[in-house]
Amino acid sequence: MKKLKYAEAINEALREEMGRFPELFILGQDVRRPAGADGAFKVTAGLPQIFSERIVNTILHESTIAGLGMGIALRGGRAVVEIQFADFVTDAVKMIRDYMAGLHYRNRISLPVVVRMPSGAIGSAGPFHSICPESLFLDTPGLIILAPATPYDAKGLLKTAVRSGSPVIFLEWKRLYRLNPEDYPKELGFEIPEEDYVIPIGKARIVRAGSDLTIISYGNMLFESLKACDALKEKGIDAELIDLRSLMPFDREMIFESVKKTHRVIIAHEAKKIGGIGAVIAQMISEELFDELDAPPVVVGAPFTPIPHHPNLEKAYLPNADDVVRAAMTKIFCEKTAAQHIVSPLRETAAAIPRAESADADVRVKMVPFTPVQKIVAQKMAENWKRPHIHDDIDADVLKIWDEYREKKEGFERAFGTKLTLTHYFAYAVVKVLMQNEFWKFRSSVEENPLTHVVKDFVNLSFAVDIPTTVEGLSHHELMAPVVKDAHKMKFAELAFAINNLAWKCRNKKILPEELRDGNFTITNVGIFETLRGNPILLDGQSASLAIGRIRSGEDFVANVILTLAFDHRPINGAESGLFKQALKEYLENWNVDIFRD
């Protein structure tokens, strides 16, 4: 076992493979020069002395360099071609992408050509000596793209690349060429065995195991990501770090397994955030593992600018450990949504359910715990049940609304970009009636010891949302009651939009905890399930709640609906309830709000 610098490991791989394949050529600008002057980064140092004829200096034309390698491969040889700086590969993109890559698909001709290119920033090298060229090749079927970050991987992967029958883009990191082996972090400081070894294409490596967050990285950025893991550890976040090593093909299996374990993922690379491998992986995770995710997949990459020259600007351009930590704290952990609070324990409890261990166990009985939402609702419900509250009904004829709704719903959607439902009419009417002076009790709450009216001159309207879901494979309907804050200040369309938006958030796990708090009156449209009349239970801190039954419309041109009011009988008596319902009935029956201009 020994330790080598990155460039030395590549050199050793080349030397060994040149010995292995008598018709392997190395081609590039200045690859064959007197000792100490070979190649821009001296990666081929010493090789011309051993393999003189097969180390070929080329002209200053990258397309020719790649094309020479291809010609050699077509005739049964192998080639490793060096592009002096990855930036200059653009001259050879036509040869590599359009010719080499598709040759096997079109003609089933193997092409053992490795295109090595020093990539990434190295410090004020400017826009033409610093690029990460991945995206030039990423969407090109037929190309293998490798990006080792350690001397061990560099040697093993280069050997695999040389032996492969497909053209390989081999990204080397200038910044790592001369890094002393002792300066590698413990987890990346692999020793290199004396004997021959190869690293399979398409296999990533877990650099550090963790349970809270998966960080996928490669190349220069792997080192920053490792630092970020340490910083996150201090914040109590146990991150798993994966070195991708092979960008195409990439290790879907390992990535997916890790994400299924941590439910959160960051892909960090030095290449630009737009159009990089991070975007590809994030997209795949979103599409295929959506249910596993507790937070959106996040990509940390360079901004959408060319690479600047001044050290300050370059520093600002290059993504680093801080960026990874910031992304984790702002996009994944800090601003936790209510859905995350809810969904994680749900998954954990589901996973914790004991399963039938033996054939003796009674498989007809299955233990399914309440969901966290259910638990909260159940607990509050039991408490509020103790309050003396009663229900009474009124019958309203809402034909006018019914007709208007059917007439205007399409125009409304066109005008405001949100759907119009009958609930919006009831909500709006309820808010308007609630704000009438005489009905102050219906928007107030009661404080005990001593008994006090907490009078509220606003309406935070909560409404029940049904969320069809499953628990342990069983169908289940979750109930949430999001709150439209300051509904009394809203015009009709604003209110409609707010209701639709909150309902969407509930159903898509986007609702925030504060959006579920501080309501002072609730409506529930039980009519959508054809229920004739509801029987609502008061919510925390509320004195009344309204259920809207099914609208019965028929041949006789009537549209009747039963409105059921639940009210706390301590502050509100039957007369007051009756007056409130009467006012509401009148408002609805004589509807004269212009929903477009209100």
Binding site: V56, G71, L74, M95, R106, L111, P141
Partner: protein
Amino acid sequence: MVVASGKTRPFFKDFDYFCDLENHFIDVVGPNQIYQRELTDLSKLFWSEGGRRDVNLLLRSMLITRRAEEKVFLLWKAGEIPGSIFSGLGNEATSCGVMAAMKYGDPAFPLHRDLGCDFTRGVEAFERGDIPAPLANLYFAQHMSKASSQCKGKDGNIHWGIPKMNRYPMISHLGTNIPNACGAALIEKFRNSGLVAFTFIGDGATSTPDFQALNQAASRKLPVIVIIDNNQWAYRTKLDEQTAAIPLSRKAEAFGIRGFTIDGTDALCVYALTKMAREIALSGTPVLIESVTFRMAGHSAYDPYEKYVPKEDLERWHRRDPIARLTNFLYGKPNLAEEKTEKFDQELNEIRRQLEKELGIEKELDEAIEWARNAPDPQTNTLCDDVYADEAAQKFVASLPDERRRTK
């Protein structure tokens, strides 16, 4: 090889490809040293032992190439060929002439108007068992994009390659084969195999960056020949809009290599000069041959070339029909000096029909078409096959959720 007498005259202005190549060729020997040399006694080729065999091969290859392209055009018209087709009409002497002069092992990188190359080398390839069926069969299957074609339906018409017969595919980005040919020459030189790589480019490709690969060939003394199929049109761009360096062989001087301009409609001239060029290339000087022809068709079958190619040019070059020139040399027909085009065409057709029958060309092609027609079309579950030669990478493609159902 006797192709030139001592009579030379220095390069002159107002060069005319049509007139000034008659019985002459252009030899670029050094800086401003461009000579018009006289071609002499090519008929000797015919009487030499190997020459006679090669001339017969040439004649058959040119005839079958022309006839195959005519038949492919009819099949295309009948909707049996997807996409477009490309015609090498007028280019047969160049493609067949070059190929007949080269050795079987010489790595070849032909272009889309060099179908003649395939038919010429295909004879030996089939005899050797390097191709599974006669070349014509593969040609029609490839154009019909069948599962059994060289490209298995993944690519059509002229984008094929048959590595076993040392013939490599082209891509539509023109000029890109020059570096490949140089690479092939590099390894053959290393192997000391005595083989010479050669590639064809169009007149337009002399403007592409890959033309610069000739610097590599020159500086490393690679055994490589680049033949410019100068048919004077790059799609709809005429040669004088492409370059002012006419004849194009002058460009050889910029690379420090040998350059020739020859009449590309004269099969024997092409053959003889290529033989000479092969020797020069083997000695360490790459060669640029400008073979002058005229594109007697559109860029592709879709191209209405009559709308922009001057009629006079088409008529003038029609009299230089490569097949007519060779049959005239061998059988005295058709009469090249015949004034009436109709008469000329009639004589040409007569001799062609007669030879096609004698040489079994018509039968071979008709059988090939039937063979191709009966071949299966590619199945959609092969769509994602063969993306990679590398096993691990190909496995990845097949594991992608959307690709899974489109692979076997």
